[in-house]
Assembly symmetry: D3
Homo-oligomer: 292 residues x 6
Amino acid sequence: MAGKIVQKAYSDIKNLKIQGATNIAIAALEALKSAKDRRQLSEIVLLLSSARPTEPLMRNGLRYVAFNVHQHYDFKNSLGFWADKYIQMCKSALERIAEIGSKRIVNNSKIMTHCHSTAVTSVLKKAKDKYKEFEVYVCEARPLFQGRITAKELASHGIKTNYIVDSAKGTYINDMDLVLVGADALTAEGNVVNKIGTSELAYIAKEADVEFGVASELLKFDPVTEQGYLEPIEEREPKEVWERPPKRVKVRNPAFDVTKADLIDFVVTEEGVLSPHNILSMTHDKYPWMKR
Amino acid sequence: MAGKIVQKAYSDIKNLKIQGATNIAIAALEALKSAKDRRQLSEIVLLLSSARPTEPLMRNGLRYVAFNVHQHYDFKNSLGFWADKYIQMCKSALERIAEIGSKRIVNNSKIMTHCHSTAVTSVLKKAKDKYKEFEVYVCEARPLFQGRITAKELASHGIKTNYIVDSAKGTYINDMDLVLVGADALTAEGNVVNKIGTSELAYIAKEADVEFGVASELLKFDPVTEQGYLEPIEEREPKEVWERPPKRVKVRNPAFDVTKADLIDFVVTEEGVLSPHNILSMTHDKYPWMKR
Amino acid sequence: MAGKIVQKAYSDIKNLKIQGATNIAIAALEALKSAKDRRQLSEIVLLLSSARPTEPLMRNGLRYVAFNVHQHYDFKNSLGFWADKYIQMCKSALERIAEIGSKRIVNNSKIMTHCHSTAVTSVLKKAKDKYKEFEVYVCEARPLFQGRITAKELASHGIKTNYIVDSAKGTYINDMDLVLVGADALTAEGNVVNKIGTSELAYIAKEADVEFGVASELLKFDPVTEQGYLEPIEEREPKEVWERPPKRVKVRNPAFDVTKADLIDFVVTEEGVLSPHNILSMTHDKYPWMKR
Amino acid sequence: MAGKIVQKAYSDIKNLKIQGATNIAIAALEALKSAKDRRQLSEIVLLLSSARPTEPLMRNGLRYVAFNVHQHYDFKNSLGFWADKYIQMCKSALERIAEIGSKRIVNNSKIMTHCHSTAVTSVLKKAKDKYKEFEVYVCEARPLFQGRITAKELASHGIKTNYIVDSAKGTYINDMDLVLVGADALTAEGNVVNKIGTSELAYIAKEADVEFGVASELLKFDPVTEQGYLEPIEEREPKEVWERPPKRVKVRNPAFDVTKADLIDFVVTEEGVLSPHNILSMTHDKYPWMKR
Amino acid sequence: MAGKIVQKAYSDIKNLKIQGATNIAIAALEALKSAKDRRQLSEIVLLLSSARPTEPLMRNGLRYVAFNVHQHYDFKNSLGFWADKYIQMCKSALERIAEIGSKRIVNNSKIMTHCHSTAVTSVLKKAKDKYKEFEVYVCEARPLFQGRITAKELASHGIKTNYIVDSAKGTYINDMDLVLVGADALTAEGNVVNKIGTSELAYIAKEADVEFGVASELLKFDPVTEQGYLEPIEEREPKEVWERPPKRVKVRNPAFDVTKADLIDFVVTEEGVLSPHNILSMTHDKYPWMKR
Amino acid sequence: MAGKIVQKAYSDIKNLKIQGATNIAIAALEALKSAKDRRQLSEIVLLLSSARPTEPLMRNGLRYVAFNVHQHYDFKNSLGFWADKYIQMCKSALERIAEIGSKRIVNNSKIMTHCHSTAVTSVLKKAKDKYKEFEVYVCEARPLFQGRITAKELASHGIKTNYIVDSAKGTYINDMDLVLVGADALTAEGNVVNKIGTSELAYIAKEADVEFGVASELLKFDPVTEQGYLEPIEEREPKEVWERPPKRVKVRNPAFDVTKADLIDFVVTEEGVLSPHNILSMTHDKYPWMKR
């Protein structure tokens, strides 16, 4: 049976006490370290993997550690070693993305983003640190207003920040030079799963011929999509959208949507700038352990 | 000087105490009836016309009454007569639109709408009254959530109603058979000015090859657009969007956007179904008084 | 009660013994002449109007005669007069279309058409009579292969004619200079109802940036579409498509589809070349009797 | 036989000594005044009409004068009267377009234009006269570099002017708020014939979702297009493009191209702002004499 | 000289007695086994390769066996071994595709397919075996009506099946959730060669924003396309289309068309789900013997 | 300090005395051979790399030689060896492209090209050498008219050649079967940097559904784009465009533009035909030394 540490990690992830793909991956791997033996390791991997449906960064981490540990004699030491190594991989991936992506931010440009993505804010803050001048438009991302986190973070870093409702992106898109969003998952055919509203933004950017980029770790590639599985789209509770809707009104609340590869101009990853159509082959090349 | 009745109408319209194009037009014309003489009539027309920037239905009413009264000897009687006549025109226009539009609602179809429009809800309720079965998806229309008014009104009329955040329209659009929205103003080249988010919806409907219709009185045609004036887009107070935004975050809050004619498949008007490219010539034909 | 002449016309139209919009209109009007009095006239109009769902040319003829006869004292003479007049209008409309349309056929060009349309073959034959050199590609128009009638008619008129399956239009479209099709009905928003496959052809022509024209009498405008009615699309018997389909295979056989106005570059009518968005206003202008 | 005045006008127009649609129309009408009698009038109309293929403004003027003179008893006086009246119509049409179009120029906007059009430069100069601030990008319009005339005219009027090669329009289009071009002829289906390169610009503006407007007199509508005639596209001498091309290189030099109605958002005319799909019905309404 | 077995295989393939890429490949390899020595092997490979122009699965098989056999001392044994191995590869590729593709079939969805493809029917039947509920629309695929084979096969497997003429795909496409077709050949730039009508279907699916997938073995990649050769498109006999066409009517009968990579959302292969742009690199990776 | 040879190469490249990517690469490598020791080698690499901003073929050559020489003991011999080897790689890459690309030229087809590219003219001349019949349309490529070099070269090779102004490409594009252009640089996401006007041509080809191919050495891939750097676009002197522009007219003269990967159907490289989305992975595979 999984111990208290694991149970807490599981429920904290499930109940959104821990948010952000990297934080979730770290929490899961820290909990995984508590495994006593190989059998328990497998149980914990199974349990934590099921905490939230759209968390490939975490699931890849659990898979990575399990894969590597199973090849070592010394269970306990190797467990810590590989868990820490994956955590380190996550962190340095973000740093690489910030460094590479910051070069794509052109002086005196305008950039639109949606919701909150650590990869995106890292890119923008790094560009600001290099004394680039630019302006950002942030969509609020109803129902949970994560755009406010982004707006706050950017403005407090000295970046010129505008905040708009999600419906206003069409009004401002023609003034933009770049749209940059994050990702929750990358798929085998090069699609990007991200906060609901992203695919709309991609269509509108295409319509206005504005460059559309994604900043995401290749570690968010979900290898099961290669086997035909569709990335599950979580539908969350109605009350997030409308506290007390009238009778007979059905509130629908999908949390993510899928942006097709052919709407995406480039992806900034820890391995450099790519076409979305290159995600699969680059992942095969760099992370062969992902595919069993 | 304008009397108390006029002052109250002016401030109620300005401060959104009175909402909805028809209600505003009625309030303005009722106030206009208080004019004592022709000079005062002109003053009141001028004052009320300026109460809100995007209200052609009211402005056309003021114009209509002034035009007709100036051709009569008996000022007082003709004032009442023409004001009432315009109010009646507004009401019967809505009824005609409901009747005509209801025929476009196909059994077992799915329809998406945005924000709140009396013309749209009239169409849908009339279709329901004819025992048609259909399902409606309502976008909430941040920042003021007028989609909630629509959802409530439709559901209480027995219509199967779904409610979604504005960003989710891309997720559901492929299941729709029709998008139907209202209008705040119609322009000379056939564009439609409506609640922010409408033009995005039109782009997405085009992308998914879903029919996009507008239900609107021709009386909302703004004749000054024929003279080259652009319909003004009101930018409202930031606090509607974010009560207390962090320092250095600039909140932008445009209330409307412009949907181009070539994204609109048809317009349901009091004079029948039209192409948006026919709005101008039909208005010339039916309402010659609009153009001086 | 309707007499034998009317009964025969009704059943011949219903059972496709009479085909082609003009032939059907003539047959109906000839039968209408047998009406003995005004009451019978109304009954016959009602009966014949219902013979087939998508025949506005005939229905407009019945409407035209009824409207005019009701304004005359001499029932019998005026009935013959107006019936003949409408028949003449149909014939001269076709001649005008042939004359005008033939000017749009450019020397050494390639033209694609679909199914069989008298308006289209008249245009092409008239152009050939003027010694223009061009080549035609005819789609066969499954299930009833009316493309064979077209191919035969054109080839026997000395026009260079190619014949292809409906699926091959995408292969040849890039070599075309023009697509020209007929119409069964025209709608208030400028859409064209025509043999199934037409809307596909229009999409593909748009994709390849090939001009897409329609040759049709304005007399095929269906005035009820202005009142919101959707032009009904006849679904015909499965056995036309597959004589003996296997059990549990459901054969669907819609006879027409709707091509949206914005896929149509021009319409050749008896009143000249138009944008499809002009159909409604031109009809109002030229045929005021269509609208009650 | 046509006298010397007419001969000179004919050859000056033919040899491009007189340029610009308005100048050409004026020259033709001034020459027309020399007609001695009705027979000569007809001869001169015929001769001058053939001077250049794409000059509907002139041809409409000749048609207008002939039509009106033929209804008067006093030949000589009426000839002068109607010729002057048409010249006046041309001039005031340009003024109206400048006034109306200037309202479409938004403060702090960027506008691209192509070649030289008096209607366009009138609009821009009028807007400048109203103290609007904006910036213009002018395409040079090879082979004859008429863009230089435009650039010079605008810059000397104090307008911020940029000059680019025709191939650079794709590089700058995303920064534009409006494209505004003139017209040599307007057609029945709403297409615009203008200097070669215009249709490319329209495609690129559509691709980038930039508003595309045309400034043109309705008097440039060519009524024969309604009868099916295609507006002829003059192919001019190779040496304009390449003085001494190598052997076996064929230089092609079409002077105009056709921009389809559905790429045009609006047309500024002497009768106000229109959809291109409204050109035909507006012309019928305002200039009934154009159509015989 | 090739023996009787080979001659029979050659003529059976050429005359369509054997149909379906896998059956053809098997027949060719079984015949190949009859080779007496290395010289004869080369002759047979040459002969069979030429039996039909668009059969890369067979040609890759011949190439595979020849390549491997030439590296072995024991000719006869190795010939049988590698021929059987390739046949096995074909079979297990189909099984893998069925397994992976079946996961892409969503419950309660509607899927359109064209013509007959074993890969597609395997996917759909496997999905049905997993108790998924869905409905299929099959286009008949004139001239040879292979859609009937598909319809029969699916219906007899208990799948809800609809059958339509090829021209009706535009009518039903907006109701679809997925289009899934097979392939005759895959090219270096990611295009798919398949039964005529496929590229039209892809355009229409794009227009309606419906997902477009291909189910195909990577073994159908044609390596000569990498060297610049265009996949040949067989044009078959006119009488397949029209038994006795009238004089002077030219019947054109191309059997395949090319669907461009950017119209294809994903490809289900034996190596998993891919972007079409990944076909080349995945083939290099998995089948290095294809490229000399 | 760099010697005279290097100084001359540097200034000849900078001042356009040497033109064409291959000529520039050869000149730079020949100069590089004069390096006396490893320190000087580094200095020369640095100097020559900065001669012009958009020359990845040269910069890759310098990088290639430096990389390889640093691994050898014998500096002088290895310097000559690797420099010559790279020069040879450039030459044989062009030959491979000519051979492969010539197979894509279809008999009786029409091909449009822009500016001058040795890769493109090699392809076309090789196709002609194989007795293929085709016709080429060359855009002049203002401001420097390099299209004239292309036209001359093709015509003197016996190829049917047409020459047009850059604005006329929209007029002829619908008659084309293929557009083929060269490249100055290839980027990580698959974009192509080429002479200004190329991206417009790509948009227009897409609009007209005409195949758009690029002929370019993979050696022109710029590896720094993988690290996020944007390929710099040289803006050249105004006087190239307009010798003496009027006061206050600002002449803009960017030399290149960027064509997005999704507008490109295929790339002909020394390693075969590719999707542009494959450029990155193919380069990794074939030229691992490009990436440090």
